[in-house]
Subunit: 455 residues, 2 copies
C-alpha cells in the first residue's frame, strides 16, 4: 500500500499544530508517517500572527489574511494559551507579564517550532484554488496557484485538513448614507495603526472583542473621541472620558451618524467591528462548512471531522476562549485518526455524539458556562490522545477571573498577573500602566523592568 497523502491548508496556528502533531509522532519513533503538503497563501508561517501593512489584497492579488494591527497586546492572559509541552518560562528564561504584545506572543508561539523540520512540508504563496472529492477513487484533488512559479499545481490526497481560519473575511454591513460619508470607512480587518486616528472623532460599530480592543487602542493613541455603537447590549465597562457607548446606529447624513435613541454626532472615521464571515471559496458545496461563529459548529464530529466526509478535517473553526492548546488537541486527535490509531465511529454514532454537544451548547446562557463548555470539549479530546495532559479546567478559572478583571477596569486589566498552570510561575507586573507603554516591540517590551509579585 502506498503512503497516505495529507494536504494541510494553511500554516497558521492550526496548520502548524497539525504539522507538529505528525512531527511529534516521528520523533516518537513512528516511521510510517503519511506524505504531507501544507499550502500557505502567505510567504511565511504564523497565519494571523504575521503583521502585514497591506490591506485588501496582497502582493499576489489574493485577499489579505491578516487582521492584526500595530500595538496589539494579548487581550487574554497568556496563562490561558500556554502550551502544555512548551512553557513561557522555557521560552523566555524568566517570568514575564500576563499580557504581552503581539510580537512577544508570536515569538513564543514560533519558539517551539522547529522551523527547518517543518518548513520542508510547506509551499508558500500557494493559495488554494479548488478542492474536489472523487467518490470512486476516494481521493481529494487540490489545485493551488503557486505564485512563485506562476503556475498551478494539482495533487491528490487521502485527507484534507482545512486550517484557514475564520477571522479573515470581514462581515461589513450597510448603513443608509454610508456611501456618502466623507471620511474613511473601514472594517477592523483593515485597521492597522491607531495613530492614523489621533485627534479624530471615531465611530466604532459593534461591541465584541474587536470593538472593545480597537476602541481602547484609539483611546490610548490619542483619538479625540470614541463612540461605540452596540446592537443588543453595551459592553458596559466603565470607560474613561471621551469613550462612550451608544445604541444602534441607524443611518448617516454626510458625516453625521444617527442612532436609534435619536442622538447624533459628527465623525471623522468609521471602523466597523462587525465580525467575520466563514469563507471557503475553494470548497464545493458538498465539502463546505456552513456555520456562524459559535462554540460548536454543526456537522463537525469532535469539532473537527466533517460529518458527510470525515476525511475532510476542519481545525479551529470554533469561537475561541481557548486557542493554541485547543488547536493542538484537535490536531493530535486528527493525527491519530489519520494514522489509524483511532477508528471513527459510524455516521449515526457520530451524529448522536454531535447532538449531545449541540444540545448542551444550546443551553449556555453566560460566559462562565461557555468557558466550562469549551473546557469540557477540550477535555473530551484530550483524554484519548497522547498530548501532555494540562490543567484545562484551571485555565478556565483564569478566564473567569479575566472577565472580572476587565469589568473592574477595562483600561488596566492588562496590568493583572496570573499563575501558570504549567509551571506554577506567577507572572511579573508591568512597571507602569499599559496606557503608558506605547512602544510594543519585542525588544522594548523585554527591556522593561518587570516587577516581581510579592506574596
Amino acid at each position: 500500500m502506498s503512503k497516505k497523502r495529507i494536504a494541510i491548508l494553511g500554516a497558521g496556528p492550526s496548520g502548524l499544530a497539525q504539522l507538529r502533531a505528525f512531527e511529534a509522532a516521528r520523533q516518537a519513533g513512528n516511521t510510517d508517517l503519511p506524505e504531507i503538503i501544507c499550502y500557505e497563501k502567505q510567504s511565511d508561517i504564523g497565519g494571523m500572527w504575521n503583521y502585514t501593512w497591506r490591506t485588501g489584497l496582497d502582493k499576489n492579488g489574493e485577499p489579505v489574511h491578516g487582521s492584526m494591527y500595530r500595538y496589539l497586546w494579548s487581550n487574554g492572559p497568556k496563562e490561558c494559551l500556554e502550551f502544555a509541552d512548551y512553557s513561557f518560562d522555557e521560552h523566555f528564561g524568566c517570568a514575564i507579564p500576563s499580557y504581552p504584545p503581539r510580537a512577544v506572543l508570536k515569538d513564543y508561539i514560533m519558539g517551539r517550532i522547529d522551523k527547518e523540520a517543518i518548513k520542508k512540508y510547506i509551499r508558500f504563496e500557494c493559495p488554494v484554488r479548488w478542492v474536489d472529492y472523487n467518490q470512486e477513487t476516494e481521493m481529494f484533488s487540490v489545485t493551488v496557484m503557486n505564485h512563485k512559479t506562476e503556475q498551478q499545481e494539482t495533487e491528490l490526497f487521502d485527507y484534507v485538513v482545512v486550517a484557514t481560519g475564520h477571522f479573515s473575511t470581514p462581515n461589513m454591513p450597510y448603513f443608509e448614507g454610508v456611501e456618502a460619508f466623507p471620511g474613511r470607512v473601514l472594517h477592523a480587518h483593515d485597521f492597522r495603526d491607531a495613530l492614523e486616528f489621533a485627534d479624530k472623532d471615531i465611530l466604532i460599530v459593534g461591541s465584541s472583542y474587536s470593538g472593545e480592543d480597537i476602541a481602547s487602542q484609539c483611546y490610548k493613541y490619542g483619538a479625540k473621541s470614541i463612540t461605540i455603537s452596540y446592537r443588543s447590549k453595551p459592553l458596559g465597562f466603565e470607560w474613561p472620558e471621551g469613550l462612550q457607548e451608544w445604541p444602534l446606529l441607524t443611518h448617516f447624513e454626510d458625516n453625521v451618524g444617527h442612532f436609534i435613541d435619536g442622538s447624533s454626532k459628527a465623525f471623522d472615521a468609521i471602523i466597523m467591528c462587525t465580525g467575520y464571515l466563514f469563507h471557503f471559496p475553494f470548497l464545493p458545496d458538498e465539502l463546505r462548512l456552513q456555520t456562524h461563529n459559535c462554540l460548536y459548529p454543526d456537522n463537525l464530529y469532535k469539532g473537527i471531522f466533517f460529518q458527510t466526509n470525515p476525511k475532510l478535517i476542519y481545525l479551529g473553526m470554533q469561537d475561541q476562549y481557548y486557542t493554541f492548546n485547543m488547536f493542538d488537541v484537535q490536531a493530535w486527535y486528527a493525527r491519530d485518526v489519520i494514522l489509524g490509531d483511532k477508528v471513527l465511529p459510524d455516521a449515526e454514532q457520530r451524529l448522536s455524539d454531535m447532538q449531545l454537544w449541540l444540545q448542551r451548547h444550546e443551553k449556555l446562557t453566560d460566559c462562565n458556562q461557555s468557558i466550562d463548555f469549551q473546557g469540557a470539549y477540550i477535555r473530551d479530546l484530550l483524554q484519548s490522545i497522547d498530548y501532555p495532559d494540562f490543567a484545562v479546567e484551571k485555565q478556565g478559572e483564569l478566564f473567569k477571573q479575566w472577565l472580572l478583571d476587565k469589568q473592574e477596569d477595562i483600561m488596566r486589566f492588562r496590568e493583572k498577573t496570573y499563575t501558570s498552570t504549567i509551571t506554577n510561575t506567577t507572572a511579573t507586573e508591568l512597571p507602569k500602566p499599559w496606557l503608558d507603554i506605547k512602544d510594543d516591540s519585542l525588544e522594548s517590551f523585554m527591556a522593561l523592568d518587570f516587577v516581581e509579585v510579592k506574596d
Copy 2:
C-alpha cells in the same frame, strides 16, 4: 442540434457589449440565438462604473471590483468614447461639456441599455469559482458561487467570454520601512474620497493615469501638499503650487519618505498608484491569459480569441485609449464568430496575423503612434462586422488634441470642448473652472449653465 450555450463572465462595459451584440442580432430578426448566461459578481450591472463605498472585500467576502472614487470626472473627452449607435445628444437631449463626471457618464452608458431585455440573462452576486474545459466533449464547465442562494451552480457551455476587466486587482509594491509608516497606506483601487486627505501631506507613488488624476483630486479637495514619485520619468505637467514631482522613492523611516536624489519629506498618507495585475483566479493555467497592460496582449487573435482555445474569448484586455466603442467592436466580432457568420482561420494563420500586429506594436515609440495603432486595430475589426461605421481615426485625432490640452494646463484641460464625430455637435463649456465645481452629482452637473461655444 441543441442550442449553443455561452457564458459571459462579468456585466461591466465589455460584458454588456456582448449581451447587446446578441440582442442586436435578435432585433435584426435572428431567431436562432444561443442560450446566454452572464455571471456578475456585483449586485448590479455597470462593472467599474458602479461606485462603491466598500474597499477590500465586498459584502459577500469577494474582492471589491470597483476602483472608482467620488468626484471622478472623465479624464478623456467624451467624444472619444461615444457609441456609434447611441449619441450623447440622443441621451441628454442637449449638448453637454466634453468631460462629464462619473455619474453623468454612467447615466449615458447605461442609457442605451434595455435593462429589462438584458437583465434576464444576468445572474447577480455570482462570482466565478472555477472554469474547466473538457477536451472530449469540447465543453466548458463553469462553477459559480450564487451568494443569493448560498449555493454553487455548475453549468456547461460551448463558449466562455471573459469580460472581468483588468483594473481591479492592485499591484502593490513594497518599499523598505512602509510596514512602520504611521498613517494610511492605500492603493488607488481603495481610494474613495479626497476629502479624507484634506490638509494632509500626501505621497503619490506612480505617475500614470491614476497618479495624475488622484493627485489632481487631492489638490482640488484641499490636500496640504502632494508629492508624486515617478520611476522613469515625470508626468512633466506644470503643476500648481503645492503639487510636485520627485524621482523614485527608495524607503521610509517612520513617516519620512526618502527619494533616490537624496531628498526626503514627512507624509501623512501614501497612495500607491502603481497599476493593476491581470488576475483570473477562476481559470486554470491552460486557459489563463498571461500578459501585462499593453495595447496588444499576446495569444489573442484579433485581440480577443485565445490562441490555444479560441472558444475562450477575452474582451477589453488591452490597455485603452478607446474604450466603450472598442469593446462594442470586439463583442460584435465575437458574436459573429459564435453565430458561425464568420469562420476563424486555422491556428497557423491566426498566429501569423497576431505576429504582424505584435511586430507593429513593438515599434511604437510615442503616444500618437499608440493612438493610431489602437485605431487601426479597431478599424481592422470594424470593417468586417455590421456595427455602425464610425470615425475611428477622427476620434484618434481628438485623443491627440487631448494630450496637447493636458500639456497646456493639467488643471484646466477639462474645460476644453470637442466636436462629436457621431453628431457633429460641439460640446458646451463649463460655466466655471473644473477646480471650482466640487459637487459632481448628475443633478447638480446637469443644472449648471453650460455655455455654448461661439464659432
